[in-house]
C-alpha cells in the first residue's frame, strides 16, 4: 500500500502527474488551477521530474504546445480553468480530431461574467462537445488515481483521445486532505509507456491536422466519435485494473444506498460525497432515497445510467451549470434524453445550485429534496427546472 499523505489536492494531483512521468507541461497560470502548475514547475526545477516545463504566454499556446508535444510521441500534460479554457478552445477541438492523448486537469470555475473566480461547471459544459473523454472527481484520492488512469486510457491504441479530469475549483483544489500515493512499482504495473500510432518525425514524414474537404469531413468525424463511444469499454477495464492494483474500484456511474430507493439524487463532482451524507440523514428520517454519481461524462454512460435508475420513481438532478434558454442544466438535459425511450421513465426534477462557489449545505440539499417531492406531487411530468436559493425567485 502506498503512503498516506496529507496534502493540498492540487499538490497531490501534481505529484500524480510526476508519477505518470510526463515529458512536457505547458501551462499558463489561472485561479484556481495555479497550485497544480506551480508545484509541477518546482518538481521540474528541483530535478524530481525530468520534463520540459514551458511557461507559455497564453492558454492557446499551452494547448498548441501540448499538441506538438503529443504529436512527436511525448507525454503531455496541461491544466487550466474557466477563461483559460475559453482561450484555448480552438485547439481543444483540434487535438481531439488529431487523436492526441493529452491529459488536462480542469479546475472547474464559472465562466465570467459577472467576473468570478469561484467554482461551478460552466467552463467544462462550454466545451462539452469538444470530443475529449471527460471524467469528474469526488475527492483528492480520485484526482490522484484518475491522473494515472487518464494516461492509461488516453494512450491506449484503441482509444488515442485526449482526456479531461474535472476537479471542482477551490472546493477540491484548495483542500488539504489525506491521499494515498501509489508505489512506483504500482505505476509501472499499471501504466505502460506511450506508444503512439503515428508521430511527427523527419525520417518518417506524415501530415497531421490536414484539410478535410466536404467529401471526407463527415467520415473523419465519425472516425473520431466512434472511438470515443467505444472508449467506454477501455475506460471500464482501466478502472477495474486500477482497483486490482491499488484496491480502489471506480465505475462510470457510482451508486449509494440504492436499496428500494424511490427517489435518487444525481450529482457530478464533489457534490457527491456531501449528498451521500444527505441521503444518510433522509434515510434516518424514513425517506426512501439514494444517490447516483456520474463520474464519466463523455462518453456518456447511457447503459450504466439506465441500469442505475431502472427502479427509481423520481430523480433529483443537481446541476452546477446553466444551459441558458435550455431545458435546465446540461446534466439534466442529457439524463432526460437518456431516459426518453427507456422502459422506466422516472419523474425528473432539476435544480441548479452552487454557482460560482455558493456554498450548498446539507440543509440546502434537504430543502431541495422536499421541494422536489412537492413539485412531483403537484405536477409529476413537468419538465422544468429550478434555480435553488436565488433571492426573488
Amino acid at each position: 500500500m502506498g503512503k498516506r499523505i496529507g496534502l493540498e489536492v492540487s499538490l497531490s494531483a501534481a505529484e500524480a502527474v510526476k508519477m505518470a512521468n510526463v515529458d512536457c507541461i505547458a501551462a499558463y497560470p489561472i485561479t484556481p488551477q495555479t497550485h497544480i502548475v506551480e508545484h509541477l514547475s518546482e518538481l521540474v526545477n528541483n530535478g524530481e521530474l525530468d520534463a520540459e516545463f514551458i511557461p507559455v504566454e497564453s492558454e492557446h499556446s499551452a494547448m498548441s504546445v501540448s499538441a506538438g508535444v503529443s504529436a512527436v510521441g511525448a507525454r503531455a500534460f496541461t491544466c487550466t480553468s474557466s477563461q483559460g479554457l475559453s482561450l484555448m478552445n480552438e485547439i481543444v477541438h483540434i487535438v481531439a480530431s488529431m487523436r492526441l492523448p493529452i491529459v488536462m486537469i480542469l479546475a472547474n470555475r464559472s465562466m465570467s461574467g459577472p467576473i468570478s473566480i469561484w467554482n461551478d461547471h460552466t467552463d467544462v459544459m462550454s466545451i462539452r462537445d469538444c470530443g475529449w473523454i471527460q471524467v469528474f472527481a469526488n475527492n483528492g484520492q480520485e484526482v490522484f488515481d484518475n491522473v494515472l488512469f487518464a494516461y492509461r486510457v488516453a494512450e491506449s491504441q484503441k482509444v488515442m483521445l485526449p482526456l479531461i479530469i474535472n476537479i471542482d475549483g477551490f472546493i477540491l483544489t484548495h483542500v488539504i486532505e489525506p491521499v494515498e500515493f501509489w508505489e512506483k512499482e504500482q505505476v509501472k504495473q499499471y501504466l505502460p509507456d506511450f506508444k503512439p500510432v503515428y508521430t511527427m518525425h523527419p525520417d518518417r514524414p506524415v501530415t497531421m491536422g490536414g484539410v478535410g474537404m466536404p467529401y471526407v469531413f463527415s467520415e473523419a468525424k465519425v472516425a473520431q466519435d466512434e472511438p470515443l463511444i467505444q472508449s467506454k469499454a477501455e475506460i471500464i477495464t482501466a478502472w477495474k485494473e486500477l482497483g486490482d492494483v491499488v484496491g480502489r474500484y471506480y465505475k462510470p456511474v457510482e451508486t449509494y444506498r440504492m436499496e428500494d430507493a424511490e427517489t435518487l439524487f444525481v450529482t457530478q463532482g464533489s457534490f457527491g460525497e456531501t449528498v451521500s451524507l444527505v441521503v444518510d440523514a433522509l434515510r434516518n428520517e424514513g425517506e426512501s432515497v439514494g444517490l447516483v454519481m456520474d463520474r464519466l461524462w463523455r462518453p456518456f454512460p447511457f447503459d450504466e445510467f439506465r441500469e442505475a435508475t431502472s427502479q427509481a420513481k423520481n430523480l433529483i438532478v443537481i446541476d452546477r451549470a446553466i444551459s441558458y434558454g435550455g431545458q435546465g442544466g446540461p446534466l439534466a438535459i442529457d439524463i432526460r434524453s437518456a431516459l426518453y425511450k427507456g422502459e422506466n421513465q422516472p419523474n425528473i426534477t432539476n435544480f441548479i445550485c452552487g454557482l460560482a462557489g455558493r456554498d450548498v449545505t446539507i440543509n440546502d440539499f434537504k430543502n431541495i429534496y422536499h421541494r422536489a417531492m412537492e413539485k412531483i406531487k403537484e405536477n409529476p411530468m413537468e419538465e422544468d427546472f429550478e434555480y435553488y436559493g436565488v433571492r426573488g425567485k
Partner: protein, 182 residues
Amino acid sequence: MLEIRLHGRGGQGAVTSAELLALSAINEGKYGQAFPSFGPERRGAPVVAFCRVDDKQIKIRSEINNPDLVLVLDPSILRIVNVTAGLKDDGILITNTKYTADEIGKELGLKCKIAVVNATRIAREELGLPITNTTMLGALLKARAFVDPESLIGPLKDRFGRIAEKNIKAFKRAFEETQLAF
C-alpha cells in the same frame, strides 16, 4: 467530527494553521480536512479558514457554520466580525487578547466558553514578529486536545524549516500560558 473555524487577517497564516492541524490529525492516522474561505487573497482583510477532524472519512465539503471551536488569531477581529456565529452550545472561543476571558466575555456579551492568551506578546518575544498563527495552535490544543500536541511538531518542522524551532517554542509557551475560563 470536530469542526474548527479560524479567524484571522490575510497574511497572518490562518490557512497555514488549519493545514497544520489537519496534517497532525492525518499523521495520527485520523482524517483531516482543511481549506480557506475561497477567493482572492488580500493582505490584512478579515479571512476565515476551516478544519475538520474525524476518525472516519470526511465527506462534507461545505463551509463550517456550526463550529465546535473558534480560533481568533488577531484580537482586532473580535470587534468587526461575529466570530462566535453558529458556535455550538458547548463550543469554545479561543482568542488572542491581552484581556482576561471575563473581560472579553463581558465586552462582547458572550456566554460561551472562552480561552485567552496574549499570543501577540508571545509571538513578538519568540519570533520577533506579531504573527500568531503557530502560537495560537498551542492555545487551541490547550482548550481542547483533539490531537496530541506532539503530532504538530512534525508538520511545524516541515513547514517552517530553519525557523521551526522558534515557532515550536511559541506554540509550547502558548500551550502553557493559555487561560481557560471554563
